[in-house]
Amino acid sequence: EAEVAQSPRYKITEKSQAVAFWCDPISGHATLYWYRQILGQGPELLVQFQDESVVDDSQLPKDRFSAERLKGVDSTLKIQPAELGDSAMYLCASGLGFFSEGYEQYFGPGTRLTVT
């Protein structure tokens, strides 16, 4: 069964350092999402891509976060500089993105970020 891949699974970094996360969506999925999930809460959307284009990044803190999906396949989320409040699980999801197929999104295992 096809899965969304993410790496690394765990990352510990010091504040003010740069950190990057990678996501490889399910083959054929045009839509890719990055979420941040704080322990005990639901995922919150950071950015949504349709192919290589950003559809929604209204919740992305653009002063320190950036995301790209250059070839419309895999994606990278970067934080620079990291702050203590960025400690969270970062989830990537992909989907077909067409209403006739539903909005089902398939999630990867996530990257657990700890900023010290």
Binding site: V4, T31, Y33, G40, Q41, G42, P43, E44, L45, Q48, Q50, V55, D56, L91, A93, G95, G97, F99, G102, Y103, E104, Q105, Y106, F107, G108, P109, G110, R112
Partner: protein
């Protein structure tokens, strides 16, 4: 993401009993709803979805009910098993004609289900 919420943060049931997890949403323009299951340390896993033109949908051991009048969503799990223990999230998609993005899900805070053997 404050438009979706849950009535009960924790739910404890006996193995074999039926479980009902509730969710209230505040945006009447949402046209699609979905339930996810998240086990500790893992990403959310799709359970079942429902469109706003339906009021009930059944899957394997799960049923989702949608009451648009009171903006309420529920997930029913039949014959709950220890493997069902997890946090369950409901999520909604706001219709594009009302400012939503296609496929953009808004998640609630989650309900933790514990199954006692």
């Amino acid at each position: 993401g404050e438009s979706v919420g849950l009535h009960l943060p924790t739910l404890s049931v006996q193995e074999g009993d039926n479980s009902i997890i509730n969710c209230a949403y505040s945006n009447s323009a949402s046209d699609y709803f979905i339930w996810y299951k998240q086990e500790s340390g893992k990403g959310p896993q799709f359970i079942i979805d429902i469109r706003s033109n339906m009021d009930k949908r059944q899957g394997q051991r799960v049923t989702v009910l949608l009451n648009k009048t009171v903006k309420h969503l529920s997930l029913q799990i039949a014959a709950t098993q220890p493997g069902d223990s997890a946090v369950y999230f409901c999520a909604e998609n706001l219709n594009m004609n009302y400012g939503g993005s296609q496929g953009n899900l808004i998640f609630g805070k989650g309900t933790k289900l514990s199954v006692k053997p």
